[in-house]
Symmetry: C2
Subunit: 333 residues, 2 copies
């Protein structure tokens, strides 16, 4: 335990020949300080390398400036993207992101929220998993804001941000149908996340309305490797699908690579593929994946804007649309 020696407001006050309050006021926007005093304080602060202690300030103001990002699989393109957008926008709102990794099952989302409470975070943004009701209630009761992204369960006092997954999936079906596809498949992970299930249901529903049955396969996490397995299962079927809608782009990449390299299929001639998220790789020349873009910046914007608004007791919700990005993995367009 090294002894940290930070310079405090008292040190600055002594050097500037003013009271501690004057220093405090100098660094509090809107407080009443004369130009002369402010100058002296700033000068002394500069010389001493003084920085307001946000811990102490947070203690007094009951507002830490910390916002908790609760997320697993940070290294996944879509997640990383969202984290970047959120951290940037939070910084613009002079808040700062605390990152809590919930990859390990024992470090659950509940623990993460407990930690958020311990640090008196102004808000928590949940990108992965679903916390227990008892703990979210405690958060809200403590006055902490709660944002759930693509989580879909109701929570008192929280903001839920969701996409029109069903509608997007419906549009995907129509695109495939127009492209002349006949045998449809949906490649999903077995995670059972609400948004993933909504995409599946929307796709199947739309097909059913056209009197068409969809082959659904579910396996593993929403990652490339699962896409490989899913493709192997789907493409060895007797009636080989000629259209696969994947629950997300990572799966789609795995499906495409497997279709091409293992099954020697041409895309989009032998097989049409579409995905969801519009991760960077979707635009790479090897994939040219038709997909639905998550409005990452909009999501972050909505979340941060809501944090700035006064608290309301009932739960708010925000539904955004995913834009269809046409690329070469589906015929026509």
């Amino acid at each position: 335990m090294s002894r940290k020696i930070f310079v405090s407001a008292k040190d600055v006050a002594d050097r500037a020949g003013v009271s501690r309050s004057a220093v405090s006021r100098t660094f509090t926007p809107g407080a009443s300080v004369s130009e002369e005093t402010r100058r002296k304080v700033v000068e002394a602060a500069e010389a001493l390398g003084y920085h307001v202690n946000h811990l102490a300030r947070g203690l007094m103001r009951n507002e830490s400036g910390l916002v908790c990002l609760i997320v697993s699989e940070i290294d996944t393109p879509y997640r990383a993207n969202l984290i970047r957008a959120l951290s940037r926008q939070l910084q613009n709102a002079s808040k700062i992101a605390m990152l809590i990794n919930t990859d390990r099952p024992d470090k659950s989302v509940d623990d993460a929220l407990r930690l958020a409470i311990s640090y008196r975070a102004d808000a928590s943004i949940v990108l992965s998993g679903m916390p227990d009701k008892s703990i979210t209630d405690l958060c809200v009761k403590s006055g902490q804001r709660l944002v759930l992204i693509n989580r879909d369960e109701q929570r008192e006092g929280a903001l839920m941000i969701n996409l029109h997954d069903r509608e997007a999936a419906r549009r995907a079906f129509i695109a495939f149908h127009r492209a002349g596809c006949r045998r449809f498949a949906f490649a999903n992970s077995d995670a059972g996340t609400p948004s993933l299930m909504a995409r599946e249901e929307g796709f199947c529903q739309a097909a059913r309305e056209h009197g068409i049955e969809v082959v659904v396969e579910r396996f593993g996490a929403t990652r490339y490797q699962s896409g490989v397995t899913l493709a192997q299962r789907l493409l060895t079927r007797e009636a080989r699908p000629d259209a696969i809608f994947c629950a997300n782009d990572l799966l789609a990449c795995g499906v495409m690579d497997t279709a091409r390299h293992q099954f020697k299929l041409a895309i989009p001639d032998d097989l049409c593929v579409a995905g969801f998220d519009d991760i960077e790789q979707a635009s790479w020349a090897s994939y040219q994946l038709t997909t639905f873009a998550q409005p990452v910046e909009r999501i972050a914007e909505e979340a941060v804007a809501w944090l700035g608004q006064p608290m309301v007791s009932d739960n708010s919700s925000c539904k955004l649309s995913a834009e269809l990005i046409w690329r070469g993995s589906v015929r026509g367009g």
Copy 2:
């Protein structure tokens, strides 16, 4: 500003019928509390939903438990990976990661470190950019630990973690040479980061020792799109290279896609490509990229371990090797 109502140690003390100190001691490992008192306190805390206020604790102990991660381009696979590893290992050491995004040039690394000081972060880990000496000195003087990853400039009291970039690049050359390549190129970004330059120099140096000159092209950021441009420049040269070593995998992906789709070259038959980082995409079937793996977990491990050790005044350094991962983008192997 909503009124937050957190339950404090006083509330717990009242309910448990003990003094506030007793509550404090119950949650301080190693403090002297009787079994009976502890039981009463824990019970009351549970009932009230009490959580120690880490802000206040940090204020007293002068140790916030916060570690600042300073990084730009979080959405890049290698960075995202490193952040995941770091945040996980920090959590294991019961520290918590504050994420500071330095994408915007006006929010520079210096500002980020200032913020770290304000929050009395126990340490800062710099993954991007290079802070000014005056500010790192202030950090160290304040007792804050400083870790620089792949940054290569000396800073008093900081830990520098670097890779044997030169040696890796040398091995890349040898691999190409053994594969029978004749015309060598190096595709770099124009960022001029020390580690990128070290790779370039190592590669060129090794070639020179074999009496071979390397064509070096530098452009843009270390991203896919730059790889596309670099490939276009390199592959339209009169003496078209038959081996390209890319400063990182993202560039390599761009180079490979462009070589294949735009120039109709077969890899590795017409062109050998190697990269650096071993991002997930490198193992995808479309790329099968031979590359050097950054020991991400090791880096995180070293950083976190160093934070646990007592402070020493001079700067420590840690050099790790990047393992060569053989895949299909280079002949032989």
